[in-house]
Amino acid sequence: MTTATDPGGGSFRPSMLIYDSRYRSATIQIVALIGFLLLIGWLVSNTVQNLADLGKSVGFGFLSEPAGYDINQRLLDYDSRDSHARAGLMGLLNTLLIAVMGCIMATIVGVIIGVLRLSNNWLVARIMTVYVEMFRNVPVLLWIVFSMAILIETLPPPSAYRGEDPAASMYLGDSVALTNRGVYVPEPLFGRTDEEGNPLSWRQGLGDVHLFGDAWLRFDVSLELIVVLSTLIAGILTSGLIKRRADRIQNRTGLRPRTWHWRAAAIILPSVIALWLMGFYLGKPELRGFNFAGGTHMRNSFIALWLALSLYTAAFVAEIVRGGILAISGGQTEAAAALGIRPRRIMSLVILPQALRVIIPPLISQYLNLTKNSSLAIAVGYMDLTGTLMGITLNQTGRELEAVMMTMLIYLLISLAISGAMNIYNNSVKLKER
């Protein structure tokens, strides 16, 4: 058997590098690679020379030096004597916090608005269209500074809550206070104690576990929370079992037993009992002197960023949801209705499973955008990754190269994680087609 790829009897001529399909691709790739390496080399040599001229070196030792600045909103304990690395960690956690909270709210608002845009009530649909156009045609940064201004300019100062006849009053049974310094909400606590720290009841909670000693990664895990969360997960799993039993019964007999109340009870009851056993209570904010104490203080910077990011993203989510539903409904609804399926089941059996396929990939890329946009926190002073590592740490240490590169790398990892999740999802729901 002869081989096809045998041009010109095997003798090699230089022109074959370009005119022979076996060598041509290698030639082009090597040229491209050399060009790329030259570019990188050029950039690196420039950088090295410039840094030498400035008398700077490259190193990451600065990360273990004390940061020396305060972070007013943080998820773990931190003070200004902690290292830059821990300050950066606080920033990263704040980024993740705003991203998760933002995505949740954007999804809720976006789905509602997207569905209402399809309402057959003309007025409602119009209002939602105005919302969508208004939010997505104005820069998100403007929405962020605008929300911040609204919070600062329109909410009462804490002092308005003072006195016999206060100008402002708290909401929800004296548990939520909106002030121009931020929003105070009740804080979940376990194991009530008196002033000396002695437990007031036998339900005293379990305390915390300290991980990583004194290292920059240290954090405390509340055992009560673990107990409650694991009860909740167990409840959800039980509920899944009940659903599966219902499926089995339906398969066998054709009739589906009503199970939603059992399933709800399986999720809610054990968790409530666990909360009670752990001595759960809400620590309400109280006015002490000129300010509120107790409770959780959500600063204006956080609220403004959260509102602006989620309302802005919600406009895009609404369009995605609307598009997804429009893409599927029509023929599919008619086909299902013609089979005699009731409207509610049409939605859950036919429309949603297909619409989700269309909706979820762009939805996740909106989550990605929201996460990246959360870096605009710096405009309102919320200390996220940009504000700590690429902000104050950079300014104090003068380590531009290291700080900016690290920040980019961390954001890149977050993005890759999100898009990795999206790829897994896409592959799992891909329509089986020839």
Binding site: M1, T2, T3, A4, P7, G8, M16, Y19, D20, S21
Partner: protein, 263 residues
């Protein structure tokens, strides 16, 4: 499967087969991944031959003619077209492609160009023909496929049959010595098949060397001098049309013919 009810009358005066070899395929093999699509293909086509290739779907017939202008690359064996061997030398590939015309099942006209521009594009950019001459040539062939009046329309404005005739004219503008047809009528509505087949018959009458994958058995009987039946990537049977249709030798062929003509 649509077949022509009546055998068209064909003027055979200019259909002459010479001894000159147009395409020589020796021991050719091709795989898609691990799937062996073409197995030990040996085929010699002489200048002036009109060959119809038929067979069940997935038998490799399209892949075979796509190998002849290297839209697909073969992995073993030898293909020589007009004396030029198809191998990794890209100059040879370019030469063969500009000498061999191809008509696709889905026309593949360029929708952003007018019919005339579709026809002049390759002559101008590949053959380096002066624009004026390219236009004259294009009009000549458009007249030949009987749609000169559509020259300034866009492909999207034409019917399927008209589009396929433009595709034929576009190939002819490169003055090919061999034409390959890959199921040229399969994507057409029944009433448009005839106009395309008429054009192909006219080409055959002028002595063009043609390889045609088609299920139009009326066309095969009237025009072809040889019918090749392929199955499972192999040439199972080849014969002149009369013998092939009236007296098929292999069981696979008999089964295939009974399926497409039986109803």
């Amino acid at each position: 499967m649509s077949t022509l009810e009546l055998e068209p009358s064909v003027d055979t005066s200019k259909m002459q087969i010479s001894d000159e070899v147009a395409i020589q395929i020796e021991n050719m093999n091709k795989w898609f991944g691990t799937f062996h699509v073409l197995r030990d293909i040996d085929l010699t086509v002489y200048r002036g031959e009109r060959i119809v290739i038929c067979g069940p779907s997935g038998s490799g017939k399209s892949t075979l003619i796509r190998c002849i202008n290297r839209l697909e690359e073969h992995q073993q064996g030898k293909i020589v077209v007009d004396g030029t061997e198809l191998n990794s030398d890209l100059k040879n590939v370019d030469k063969v492609r500009s000498d061999v015309g191809m008509v696709f099942q889905h026309f593949n006209l360029f929708p952003h160009l007018t019919v005339l521009e579709n026809c002049t594009l390759a002559p101008i950019w590949v053959r380096k023909v002066p624009r004026k001459e390219a236009v004259d040539r294009a009009m000549h062939f458009l007249e030949k496929v009987k749609i000169p009046e559509q020259a300034n329309k866009y492909p999207g404005q034409l019917s399927g049959g008209q589009q396929q005739r433009v595709a034929i004219a576009r190939s002819l503008c490169m003055m090919p010595r061999i034409m390959l047809f890959d199921e040229p009528t399969s994507a057409l509505d029944p009433e448009m098949i005839k106009e395309v087949l008429d054009t192909m018959i006219e080409l055959a009458e002028e002595g063009m060397t043609m390889l045609c994958v088609t299920h139009e058995m009326g066309f095969a009987q009237a025009v072809a001098n040889r019918v090749i039946f392929m199955a499972d990537g192999q040439i199972v049977e080849q014969n002149e049309p009369k013998e092939f249709f009236n007296n098929p030798k292999s069981e696979r062929t008999q089964q295939f013919l009974s399926q497409i003509i039986g109803h």
